[in-house]
């Protein structure tokens, strides 16, 4: 019988005790692993948030945002100036267009409307009265029904014109955005659900990306064509923005949109990516200086920062919980091993008396400890697999309730129009990251990655080895007769 066989045999010597020891170990290890997994999951999400939207600054014309406000448009020179600011890793220009259904526009015109020339206007960024340049006709019909919010918003915007006749429910305008890279109007990478991207975003092209719901509404698929201002465009890809509002949109390349608007050097907004989260504040100030406070408004996802920092605190909490759970697991294993070895002092004395070297005794008890720890870890991993997603989502949901009001506020209209949300065209221009962020927050779910489990189990085994080795060797060092004589 070898040392190994003896150790395994000893581990199962007392089955009730072995079962109890394994159960206690499993709970402790499972808890530690669950915390580690939760910590990793939250950490990964924080990193992802930081990487995607946390470092993004949005530059809008001073006094204007989306289709609201006024002031002078941004220019491509300003984009070049922005790119020259230190720590800026990318500048993506966007050019927003408002598309109206051609049939409907014609019908409205026939009804005696003055077209899009209503006061105050939807196309605020082009300066007062300049909205005509950015409002175009299309063959597309919006995927979102106007509903109560849409009608109310458009009335308040004056687009229903001077006629006192109540217009029947009409479809909403569609926002077409020219983009200088494959990102949406908030700087997040576009999720292409079908087809391909637009390739070179800095050249004019007759390809376009449509939101999934918009394409469905208009019975369009990859390769289908539609028109903007009577010019045909081909659907190159479908994207999924994750929201109904986000999917009721068209993306074309930046030069295409600029050409359609007739303003080749103008930009509606710039999405500036900073190289790291630490540099965001300083870069924001530098950017504001470089562009001039009277020319541009630089905004940052303030509320997102709060979300990230509260996620960060969850990460810290779960890390502390992991350390505490691991320390507890370690202590339990240590004490159990000390007890097991202590219980068998006499056996150690006998082995010593018949000539067992200390290392053989140490090895025997370490192997025995490893057998118990292996069983405990296996059971603990199963517990962790079930518990970790629950624990992680509990941690995240607590967090997201605190960020939801912030997100809603972020989506509010510059003009103070109540309601917020997707029903208001252009409302999401500056504030959309928050909607995305809250979605990310709620979707954090922990999955037990093999490396994490392996690291946790290795720590557990290390503690088990020490817990068995130290008391075994301490006992083995005593004169055999002291041990054999008993207490």
């Amino acid at each position: 019988m070898s040392v190994l066989a003896r150790s395994v045999g000893n581990a199962f010597r007392n089955k009730v005790r072995t079962a109890a020891v394994v159960a206690v170990l499993a709970v402790a290890i499972g808890l530690a692993l669950a915390m580690l997994v939760a910590n990793q999951a939250v950490g990964a999400k924080v990193q992802e948030l930081n990487a995607s939207v946390g470092t993004v600054l949005t530059v809008n014309p001073a006094g204007g945002q989306g289709f609201e406000g006024g002031g002078e448009p941004l220019t491509t020179e300003q984009a070049t100036a922005a790119a020259a600011v230190p720590n800026v890793s990318a500048v993506v220009g966007t050019s927003s267009l408002r598309l109206r259904n051609a049939t409907e526009a014609a019908a409205q015109a026939a009804a005696g409307q003055t077209g899009q020339g209503g006061p105050g206007g939807q196309g605020g960024q082009g300066g007062p009265g300049g909205q005509a340049a950015a409002t175009l006709t299309t063959s597309l019909t919006a995927a979102v029904d106007a509903g109560t919010l849409g009608n109310r918003n458009q009335q308040s915007n004056g687009t229903t014109g001077s006629g006192s006749t109540t217009q029947p429910m009409r479809s909403l305008p569609i926002t077409a955005t020219g983009i200088g890279a494959e990102v949406d109007s908030t700087g997040k990478a576009l999720t292409i659900a079908e087809g391909a991207g637009l390739g070179d975003y800095t050249a004019e092209s007759t390809n376009a990306l449509l939101g999934t719901t918009l394409a469905e509404k208009n019975n369009l698929s990859i390769g289908s064509t539609f028109t903007i201002n009577d010019q045909a465009y081909t659907v190159a890809g479908l994207f999924d923005a994750g929201t109904s509002f986000g999917n009721n949109a068209v993306y074309v390349t930046l030069p295409t949109a600029q050409a359609l608007a007739g303003t080749p050097t103008e930009l509606s907004s710039m999405i500036v990516t900073v190289n790291s989260l630490e540099n965001v504040d300083s870069t924001k100030a530098a950017l504001q200086d470089a562009l001039g406070t009277d020319k541009a408004d630089v905004t940052q996802g303030q509320n997102l920062e709060t979300a990230v920092s509260s996620l960060g605190s969850v990460k810290n909490i779960s890390f502390i919980a992991f350390v505490a759970a691991l320390a507890t697991a370690g202590l339990i294993i240590l004490l159990i091993m000390v007890m097991l070895v202590r219980e068998r002092r006499r056996e150690i004395g006998v082995l010593k008396a018949i000539g067992a070297p200390n290392r053989t005794i140490g090895l025997q008890f370490v192997l025995e400890a490893l057998v118990l720890a292996a069983l405990g870890s296996a059971a603990g991993a199963v517990i962790a697999a079930f518990a970790s997603s629950g624990i992680a989502s509990a941690l995240i949901s607590t967090n997201s309730t605190s960020t939801t009001p912030a997100a809603t506020a972020g989506r509010g209209m510059p003009g103070g129009v109540p309601g917020g949300g997707a029903g208001f065209p252009g409302g999401g221009q500056g504030g959309n990251p928050f909607g995305g962020a809250s979605q990310l927050l709620t979707s954090v779910t922990a999955s037990a990655s093999p490396e994490v489990i392996a690291a946790g189990v290795a720590a557990v085994f290390g503690v088990a080895i020490i817990g068995a080795l130290v008391p075994a060797l301490l006992t083995a060092r005593i004169r055999p007769i002291e041990v054999l004589r008993g207490e």
């Binding site: 019988m1 070898s2 040392v3 003896r6 045999g9 000893n10 010597r13 006499r346 056996e347 004395g349 006998v350 082995l351 010593k352 008396a353 018949i354 000539g355 067992a356 070297p357 200390n358 053989t360 060092r477 004169r479 055999p480 007769i481 002291e482 054999l484």
Partner: protein, 235 residues
């Protein structure tokens, strides 16, 4: 040859100091079968554990074949116990969850003997101490006291030690098996030149030894013995 020189072992019991072994000296030639008799608590077991390097003397020395145990480091003492000593304990001290064969194999495993060889030798030794074959693979805690005693003796013989120290080796055995064990020990000392020191209350055993010592209040005295009678060996 084993030389014991002015061996003293003291224990502190509260504020009293007791001396179970007090200035003991004797010399045993290799191959001698000797016995120590004495009352319970006279220090016989303590003396035996000092000789077997299970304990360290307060003063004095044990010299085995010219090597002093007093100055030996622990690792060397372990090796001495493994290679040169066979110990039969009063309470057997077998590993309860191992089989008889596994228990006998343990010292050979520590000595690095190959598995097949030690298994064969373990079975032979168990045969020698008359443990029936179907009990060889039985766990120790399923064996009777007498059977455990025989397994303990077989384990003591495992590494062919030069010195066997036995604490009441026949105490738990019936007369017949006890006689057999005595014959076996006697034959070992004669045929294998093994020195055997037995602590016993058993007059029959004590009378068959070459030399007989009496331990009284820590002091050792030798008693005269008749010339050793030939003991028939049945194994």
């Amino acid at each position: 040859m084993i030389e014991v020189k002015n061996l003293v072992r003291t224990f502190n019991s509260g504020d009293r100091t007791i001396k179970p072994v007090n200035d003991v000296s004797f010399v045993l030639e290799q191959g001698t079968l000797a016995s120590i008799v004495g009352k319970s608590g006279s220090g016989k077991s303590t003396l035996l554990s000092l000789l077997g390097a299970l304990d360290k003397p307060t003063s004095g020395d044990v010299v085995v074949n010219g090597v002093s145990l007093a100055g030996m480091p622990d690792a060397k003492l372990t090796e001495y116990r493994r290679r040169d000593i066979g110990f039969v304990f009063q309470q057997f001290n077998l590993i309860p969850n191992l089989s008889a064969v596994d228990n006998v194999m343990l010292p050979m495993e520590f000595a690095g003997m190959r598995k097949a060889a030690r298994q064969q030798r373990a079975k032979d030794l168990l045969e020698q101490v008359q443990l029936v074959q179907d009990k060889h693979d039985r766990r120790i805690n399923r064996l009777s006291g007498g059977e455990q005693q025989r397994v303990a003796i077989a384990r003591a013989l495992a590494n062919e030690p030069k010195l066997i120290l036995a604490d009441e080796p026949t105490g738990n055995l019936d007369e017949q098996t006890g006689d057999h064990i005595i014959s076996l020990l006697s034959a070992l000392s004669r045929d294998h030149n093994t020195t055997i020191l037995v602590v016993t209350h058993d007059r029959a055993l004590a009378n068959k030894t070459d030399r007989r010592f009496r331990l009284q209040q820590g002091k050792l005295t030798e008693e005269p013995v008749r010339p050793r009678a030939a003991v028939p060996v049945t194994a």
